[in-house]
Subunit: 542 residues, 2 copies
């Protein structure tokens, strides 16, 4: 006999009880409830939420007037200034997909993205005119180019026939913007920073953007009206979805063109910044800055960091300044951080080393993410929570991309078995916190033994003369691979390869000790990640 | 030519990137990340999140063992103690729908609900055994009855063949509980408190419960680990969805059987309560309590109130104790509050009267609700934001019920035009805040003029001798209707009908002045709402 379900009779969705989730609604509410509050600060410029809303509507209207339709890509090559922030609302309000391009890419890489994304419009910050104009020359179907002027930047060049501000003028503030018909509609396209091969185009949906924006607020215990400084590039996973979190909390977005210690400290002091995000290298820079830059900051500041574990010295330095560091983890495919090293009150009692070790763990799923596991890469069976067995991190839930644009094979592979395969190798601690040991491709296999490059790097970072360290595999006839360490010394420090190797032998299993040590600057991506593929090539060639 | 959308090719949902939203996931996360934290306090009893999770799984398992299936109704007649809290997770984890019944209903009303909801199981707190046993006798298809014992309550009677605790014992902690197949699946059934006619069964979906739980956190600026006291009945819109908000923030749920000033103050002091909700009458009671009850509370407490605007005296009294009052508005159909009188920093400078007037407004949509408007009831065109034109409040978004159970006609009517019709009459202020003037049916029409009963009550509350006031229409041959005031005087106060009427004439338009004044206790619903239909009958008969 069929089981009648009385709850499914005459109780369907309708316009009154179902609206597609979209972060556009956060902007609407901020502008409606707090029209007079400052939404954006850029040097001496201020925009309220009412003004910001109007600027976004005008942008959507102007794009619509240019013939932009649902499913079209609109690209931005722009620093962390108001147009880049506004694009996170104005582009989707035209029904289009925002593609924020890494501003440190060369013209070939930008050309690849424009071509692959089939961009209809490219907004170019005058600082990046040269790269953009070269890139566009390489693209078969040219996008319309709009220049982004910035009165606070000298130099650069205005490309295209009009400017961003003129375009806003041409748009209507009464434009009936286009909310998504479905929360599964695409909102953004972000290319992986790609340490190897061609970048992949990661497609975000409105649902995930909405939920991750709220998840950020819950995860970081944010309350209304945070003042958020853009030390993190907005092109990086849409600034980890923080443009939408700032709207959800009616906060203030503080622009930052160049990530420099003086500009950051001045902003924190002058604008009473309460929150910022960045790679540990940014924290490191702030930590090592002159004391006079740090003076005069009395309020507490919250810092979120990802990409690598913050070293103990950095945590200590930050804490001494009243900066509270939260360590998170994520990938472009998960809208940025979706794993958080959730702090527990009882850990406050512990010593610095132990606290740093706890904080170094990537942690647990963020509040609105569904599932996280460390499992055997082949069987997809969870590994024991013993803090030792290495497995791959798998993630699933609503804060996971739609897939890779025009790449169904890789999309399918990455979702095999109903989980997103991160490619990151980790252990699972007894208390459920995950700790990354390495990227799959960064593991070093020497004489059949797996060596975690991160583990070796952790030891190197304890050496008093070392500022930065990266360890990669060097092909070896006898062992298959051996660890090769690339090291940047602290200013004025003096040591030798032999001394470094001896230090390692004293602090780790011998088979893990680097056989080669190379001194110099480390090559990095624009987001501060060490480009290990470059180092691997160097190690191979040396 | 058809417009190709590259973002809709090979980018469908799958198990890795789409999970039905459900508040069950909040419990999972709290138990996983904070297993050792105290989730529930009931007198001397403590349950951690790990224990609470296990109890909920066992409940789901036991219900499953009893043959409960998806779409079945499981009813609870229970005070604010752990089983009622746990039911908010355990019942949906069995795939079933939770029906928390108002514990102050009489047996006829309970019987109507059991019959209409087709309840398969009824859990009965021993305090309510008498009402329940009478009710079940009136129902054709008898639900299985399970007794809820409470070691901290003397008296009462255990109905049924087993108890809640024995049932949990019989369930398996390893049961694979049943998440919703679709986020539109029903999670709860709440009967309107019904000031007229038969109550309607309001059906909640998992999506709305999940989103409102998060919206509560954002709206109230809650951070991790709130300590939440159950002054608000859990049967009232599922405690405004706070069981799920508490899980989302890994907080602590503090049980409370009877809403009494001593018990509340003792809990606040002993358990360091940070948050509670309640009708203004609860705040009033706390405010008027003896000073020695209030002693020793040093921490700040957040109070959310709805149902009527909190009077200035109550706000002042609360503030003097360090209690911060937030005024919210909603209906059973909107999962409880979905409108919040969002406070602005600049209002802190204002005097008490002005602050009370600002706080008395119902406010703006809550962070995750989609839309709110005041509009002409017929044309559904928004009224001007002039603070004067009265219209009906309309709401739409994701925090709106599926509809009324087995009542497609009323469901359709209530959603006509793609908005939920609240039946509440309000003005829309220039700053976008709504302020309720009356329920449609509470408006008094005298000589063709509309009189807001709330406006008259507001004036009455300013009279120094009046503790509570309610105004309803009294049929009148000449005028159609005239206002009739029912008044409860403060202890020891002494005044007369003539003096009250004179006071009104001095403070409002003459045609609004009550023609009749009746002194005595006011009849109330279990949630503290004055039962105006009772008063209307009295006014008519007098």
């Amino acid at each position: 006999m069929q089981h009648m379900n009385i709850y499914e009779m005459g109780l369907d969705t309708n316009e009154a009880n179902y609206t597609p989730l979209s972060p556009i609604s956060y902007l609407e509410r901020a502008a409606f409830v707090y029209p007079e509050r400052v939404a954006q600060i850029h040097q001496q410029t201020r925009y309220t939420w009412a003004e910001t809303f109007e600027r976004c509507v005008r942008l959507a209207s102007a794009l619509n007037g240019m013939g932009i339709q649902k499913g079209d890509t609109v690209s931005f090559l722009c620093s962390n200034i108001p147009p880049m922030f506004e694009a996170h609302f104005g582009v989707p309000m035209a029904g289009a997909v925002l593609n924020a391009i890494n501003t440190r890419l060369d013209s070939e890489a930008v050309a690849f993205i424009l071509q692959h994304a089939e961009s209809k419009v490219l907004f170019v910050d005058k600082e990046f005119a040269s790269v953009a104009s070269k890139a566009v020359k390489m693209v078969a179907v040219k996008p319309t180019i709009i220049a982004i002027d910035d009165e606070y930047l000298d130099g650069g060049e205005l490309l295209g026939e009009t400017t961003y501000e003129a375009l806003l003028e041409s748009g209507s503030a009464q434009f009936e913007y286009i909310p998504p018909a479905n929360e599964w509609d695409a909102i953004a396209l972000n290319y992986t920073s790609g340490t190897t091969g061609n970048p992949k185009g990661v497609v975000y949906h409105h649902r995930g953007a909405y939920l991750n924006a709220a998840s950020n607020v819950l995860s970081w215990n944010m309350v209304s009206h945070p003042v958020y400084l853009w030390t993190l590039p907005l092109f990086h996973c849409n600034g980890w979805c923080f443009p939408w979190s700032i709207a959800a909390t009616a906060g203030t977005s503080v622009a930052l063109r160049h990530v420099r210690a003086d500009a950051i400290y001045n902003s924190i002091r002058d604008s009473k910044v309460t929150h910022f995000c960045g790679a540990p290298i940014v924290l490191n820079m702030l930590n090592n800055a002159d004391d006079d830059l740090k003076a005069g900051i009395e309020h507490s500041v919250n810092v979120m960091t990802a990409g690598a574990a913050p070293p103990a010295a950095v945590i200590e330095g930050m804490e001494n300044m009243g900066f509270n560091v939260t360590h998170v983890y994520g990938l472009t495919e998960t809208y940025g951080p979706c794993v958080v090293s959730a702090w527990k009150d009882q850990w406050n009692e512990k010593g610095l080393t132990e606290r740093a070790a706890l904080k170094a763990r990537q942690g647990v799923k963020s509040p609105l993410q569904q599932d996280l596991m460390v499992a055997d890469a082949d069987s997809m069976q969870p590994v024991p929570r013993d803090g030792e067995t290495v497995g791959e991190i798998f993630i699933r839930g609503n804060i996971v991309m739609k897939g890779y644009l025009k790449n169904p094979t890789t999309t399918e592979e990455s979702f095999e078995g109903g989980w997103f395969h991160t490619g990151d190798l980790a252990v699972w601690h007894e208390d459920g916190y995950v700790e990354i040991k390495d990227r799959s491709k960064d593991i070093i296999i020497s004489g059949g033994e797996n060596i975690s490059s991160i583990e070796v790097e952790d030891v190197l970072y304890r050496h008093p003369s070392i500022e930065e360290a990266a360890v990669v595999a060097k092909p070896d006839e006898k062992w298959g691979e051996t660890p090769c360490a690339f090291i940047k010394l602290k200013e004025g420090a003096d040591t030798s390869a032999e001394e470094i190797i001896r230090f390692c032998r004293d602090n780790m299993a011998h088979f893990k000790t680097p056989r080669h040590v190379v001194f110099g600057e480390l090559p990095k991506t624009s987001t501060g990640k060490v480009q290990k593929f470059v180092l691997r090539q160097q190690a191979k060639d040396s």
